[in-house]
Symmetry: C2
Subunit: 285 residues, 2 copies
């Protein structure tokens, strides 16, 4: 299989991410169908040309015709879906996903999946604070990172196809990591930052702070508007790595606190300079 | 005194903030002069119409003619300046500042200041990551907060004039706090967030993270490009409040960590929902 304009693409789960995939692919002339729980999301997507057609049921025709299936569901829902409906895939179907944690999900899905269907896991490092198909936006992929996380069960062909999908979607940088490396990385870069944002918003009950704030507090708490159902699941599925990264952060935070408490200005300045220099690498191109 | 187009305004320190004040005021037809250390910054500002004229010396004519003087210097430099040159002010001059910490600076300046000159402290909650007059931008004040921090040494007239200045500059919300209230607030909203950003950038030495990051890590570390000379001074001048706020954050962070460690999903979700609801108040209009 090679992804081209004749590839039948099926997106399962038309939320923010599924909708953004659909938009990006349809805009470039790819054929996209969708299965999702709410009819209004299908109507919305069909009206805007994001998909050709959609179904609120696991439509046998859609599933058996699909060459490439993208799962944009919560991790547990994804695993359950595979369990229940995988008999409907035609032989040779390639499936991928957008799940934010990998080790556990990939192991569960790959271990139960039919041997004539391949699951190549991926994580698009893009998103919006708001959820739902109506906030879909193909431009979220611009300048963003895309991580493919294959295991030894994956073929080179599937890895290449998955990278190609990332490239079609418009990601700026496409990388490959093992599921375990991915989860450790994501525990630090994404899950820890969400824990910090949530903590900042709940650390004090002082009223009226919005009258005095500058942009730095706004920046650090933007992501505290969190989908609690999804993120609590993601945190718990990656608990060990997340706790490790939270502890590493706390240790470094205590060290910096000590410099302040001791009035060690030179040490403080060294840490600040190191931080500023490192941050340059993270600027978007 | 009442600020109008005939008011002689003198800005001392043409960096990012002094330059942005100069730009905002000149654009609206106010008469602005400046004293700063580098001739090139004066040339830059005069060429662009940000100031009428400038001097690298504490010019006696500028100082004695000024009705309103805005200090945009580092805290310690501001205090030293007053000590050395306050004899040059004419009687009745109103002075204000942009200093990011208040209690100590306000007490030092007000206690030594001539009785015929009034210092009304203020903190514009706006800025840019980059420093220097060439990054000046009057639009930083749009949507931003401005805090006046008077003491019992200040007159109602000066407080009103200082609020009026904030309004002329284009701030969206102007508030009044005591220097102590201000410093506690700023320890939480601004200094703590900078400590977190710096810590995130230095918590791990793993290379190549920029290839895998999403926007959440970028958001939380934007301000880690910090002016280490200025911020180390600000942190140490507000040490007690900052340490208190760092400890409050750490305590809340540990609580959230415990929920994750124990798999207390409902408690995690409650904290997340509280965070998201509170964050709505901080959206810019």
């Amino acid at each position: 299989m090679k992804i081209d304009k004749n590839t039948n693409i099926l997106i399962i789960g038309l939320g923010l991410m599924g909708g953004s995939y659909a938009t990006a692919l349809s805009e470039q002339g790819y054929k996209v169908k969708a299965i999702t729980v709410n009819q209004k999301d299908i109507d919305y997507a069909v009206e805007r040309g994001m998909i050709i057609e959609g179904s609120v049921q696991p439509d046998e025709r859609f599933i058996s015709e699909a060459d490439l299936v993208v799962f944009a569901l919560y991790p547990t829902v994804f695993v359950e879906w595979i369990e229940k409906y995988q008999h409907l895939f035609r032989s040779g179907t390639l499936i991928t996903d957008v799940t934010g944690v990998k080790t556990q999900v990939v192991a569960q899905v790959q271990s139960m999946l039919r041997s004539d269907v391949e699951y190549i896991p991926a994580h698009p490092m893009a998103g919006r604070v708001r959820s739902g198909v109506e906030f879909s936006d193909a431009s979220v992929f611009k300048g963003a990172n895309y991580i493919v996380t294959p295991t030894d069960k994956n073929t080179d062909e599937a890895i290449e196809n998955c990278k190609e999908l990332g490239s079609i979607l418009g990601f700026s940088r496409i990388s490959v990591l093992s599921p375990e490396e991915h989860d450790e990385m994501i525990a630090f870069l994404s899950q820890l930052t969400h824990c910090i944002a949530v903590t900042l918003m709940t650390a004090t009950d002082t009223e009226g702070l919005e009258k005095y704030t500058g942009d730095s507090f706004r920046d650090l708490t933007r992501i505290s508007k969190i989908n609690d159902l999804m993120w609590s699941e993601l945190f718990l599925m990656n608990k060990d790595a997340l706790l490790r990264q939270m502890d590493a952060f706390s240790e470094e935070f205590s060290r910096f606190r000590q410099y302040i408490a001791n009035g060690q200005r030179e040490e403080m300045r060294q840490v600040m300079r190191k931080a500023g220099e490192r941050r340059l690498r993270f600027d978007k191109n």
